[in-house]
């Protein structure tokens, strides 16, 4: 991205406050969306869609949800997996109870159930902060995991204790279930993620986002300015859980095809948290970069060596993925808490003044 904003003067505050105030960024995003919506479906293989792009998009949305809570509002949560599960199971129950309603409606609607549960588990956030709040969300995670296993009503008393996703149609085309093509599922996921990301971007640069960040940076001063701490934190819990819930529903209905309680356990929570840390706390772009890196790394490790005629056992791939990710997390925590997103910014800044050192 070798361009400068020189000469692009804003003549109104409206223009200055646009999502992408710089012309080149507008074009860049337009091209990206065009590729994502048209180019990729025409050219990408089933493997790329199914195993790379769909999960990356879904995890990006979950990471966005956690980032709203942890990166923007400063409330650390270890319950992401649980909130995603609430979305998935809510969607499943809704679909069973009202089989004729469109499945997309339920995928989005399940977010509200996750939001409600998120608010309940956010209630302690008025009294406790930091480490103790993280432990409270951890308790939420374990409680929800327990429910997913021990409450058979949630999975319709299925003997295998798992959810099976049936085929559901949209405009005569299968969008879920075994007969849905990967292109269809990809396009549905992409559309939902794109719209929800736009809404999140609007929120974080408006009043809501400012109150969240104020609470994150100094809650006492925020209160003295007239921000209601409790409402602000709970709203953040609700919106964050909404995003995680929708991501969870998509994970089951548009990616996995069936869900077991282990899809929403503590490991999932940590995975999303690592995406946020590596991508960048307090950056929506970072959520996408983090999800891409963490999901893409093992795939790269598995496939790149085969191009050179080498083969690595999958156990080795898993181990090296763990080691590299571990190293990256420690690196980012110590050196660059704002993650890949910040590195991207620095890189752009450096290119702008290149070849001069400053």
């Amino acid at each position: 991205m070798l361009y400068r904003e020189v000469g692009q003067y804003k003549t109104s505050y409206a223009a200055d406050q646009a999502l992408l105030p710089i012309l080149q960024d507008k074009i860049g995003i337009a091209v990206l969306l065009l590729i994502a919506f048209v180019g990729v479906p025409l050219t990408a293989s089933d493997f790329t869609l199914n195993s790379v792009l769909i999960p990356i998009l879904i995890f990006s949305l979950a990471a966005t949800g956690l980032n709203l809570l942890t990166g923007y509002t400063g409330l650390l949560s270890l319950g992401t997996g649980g909130f995603m599960g609430v979305g998935a199971y809510a969607c499943y129950k809704l679909m069973t109870l009202f089989p004729h309603v469109n499945i997309i409606v339920f995928i989005l609607f399940s977010g509200f159930f996750a939001a409600a549960v998120g608010i309940v588990f956010g209630l302690p956030s008025l009294r406790i902060k930091g480490f103790y709040l993280a432990v409270a969300t951890l308790a939420a995670q374990f409680f929800l995991s327990w429910c997913f296993i021990r409450v058979p009503w949630l999975y319709n008393y299925n003997i295998s204790a798992s959810i099976e996703v049936p085929t559901k149609m949209l405009f005569g085309i299968a969008v879920t279930g075994p007969t849905a093509t990967s292109v269809t599922r990809y396009l549905v996921v992409l559309a939902i993620v794109a719209v929800l990301t736009l809404l999140a971007a609007n929120l974080v640069r408006g009043r809501t986002g400012r109150t969240w960040m104020a609470v994150r940076d100094m809650d006492l001063a925020a209160e003295l300015i007239g921000i209601r701490l409790y409402q602000t934190k709970l709203l953040s819990f609700a919106v964050s859980s909404f995003y995680c819930g929708v991501a969870g529903a998509m994970l089951v209905f548009l990616y996995l095809g069936n869900a077991e309680p282990s899809s929403f356990d503590i490991n999932q929570s940590f995975l999303i948290l690592f995406m946020v840390i590596i991508g960048g706390l307090g950056s929506l772009l970072g959520s996408f970069l983090g999800a891409t890196l963490i999901w893409g790394l093992p795939i790269l490790l598995r496939h790149v060596p085969t191009y050179f005629g080498l083969s690595i056992e999958s156990a080795k791939v898993d181990q090296s993925t763990f080691m590299i990710l571990g190293a990256l997390i420690i690196f980012f925590l110590i050196v660059e808490p704002h993650g890949l997103a910040r590195l991207w910014q620095i890189g752009k800044q450096k290119l702008r003044v290149w070849p001069f050192p400053y």
């Binding site: 505050y13 200055d16 406050q17 408006g206 109150t211 001063a221 003295l224 300015i225 921000i227």
Partner: protein, 266 residues
């Protein structure tokens, strides 16, 4: 310097009254039976040696501390304890002795947070950026820019506050307080740690705010020159008690004040 004094401004009735305020932390008596009032449009200074209870007094005024005894009267209504949120909503804004800005946010965002109480659009409208939300955002941006122009901080509006030098941070904190369009502005040592030039700028800003917007200012300051120059009335605290109250000249010649500052034993 004495713009505020000879511009013929009208000092009104009592806007904020404190009666018999007593505040202690465990064994430490921070304030003991302190009473004084603040009149509309005046610059009221609070002075006193270190640990006298000045900051605690401001904290009581805007609800950050809850006094054990005493009454706070704001615009005729009595409160035993102002809740911070209520105090902000009633038009009391403040700055802090050790700057309390939102460090990760830009100068502009910090100021826009100050407008928070004046913004009405709910969060759905904001998420969709529908007409009303956009209009509101622009309207308040305009107000924020006015303050930015007034305090001469245009060049740093996009800078994260954490990267600014101390003097500018103090100025941004004033900007954020002004964004609330307060009726009463509480300033806790706004000029501490500044060089002469920065101090003069800050004095000018405080007086202009007081003059143009008619904002009542309550100010804690150690620099006696500044206090004598810009304040209309001064209250002096020592060991949590009020020892003097009056015009700068009266206070300066008060024997109790002289003793307190010279460290005469009680």
């Amino acid at each position: 310097m004495a713009v505020g004094l000879d511009s013929g401004k009208k000092i009104g009735g009592v806007v904020l009254g404190l009666e018999g305020i007593t505040l202690s932390f465990g064994g430490v008596q921070a304030l003991q039976d302190v009473s004084f009032d603040v009149r509309e449009h005046e610059v009221r200074a609070i002075i006193g040696p270190n640990g006298a209870g000045k900051s605690s007094m401001l904290n009581v005024m805007n609800g950050f501390y809850q006094p054990q005894q005493g009454v706070i009267r704001f615009r005729g209504r009595e409160h035993c304890w102002m809740r911070p949120h209520a105090a902000a909503a009633m038009g009391i804004a403040r700055t802090f002795q050790n700057i309390a800005l939102f460090k990760g946010m830009t100068v502009l965002d910090n100021i826009m947070v100050g407008r928070n109480l004046k913004m009405r659009c709910n969060f759905l409208l904001q998420a969709l950026r529908l007409g009303p939300a956009m209009r509101e955002e622009i309207e308040h941006r305009r107000a924020a820019e006015e303050i930015i122009d007034f305090l001469e901080i245009q060049h740093i509006r996009r800078t994260p506050v954490g990267r600014l030098p101390y003097g500018l941070q103090k100025r941004v904190e004033l900007a954020r307080a002004l964004a609330m369009e307060p009726a009463v502005l509480l300033l806790d040592e706004p000029m501490a740690g500044m060089n002469l030039e920065e101090k003069q700028d800050m004095c000018r800003f405080v007086l202009e705010v007081n003059d143009h917007y008619g904002t009542t200012v309550v100010l804690i300051e150690h620099d006696m020159g500044v206090v004598m120059d810009i304040s209309d009335r001064v209250v002096v605290l020592d060991y949590g008690r009020k020892i003097s109250d009056g015009t700068p000249d009266e206070v300066r010649s008060d024997q109790a004040v002289i003793d307190a500052y010279l460290g005469v034993a009680h």
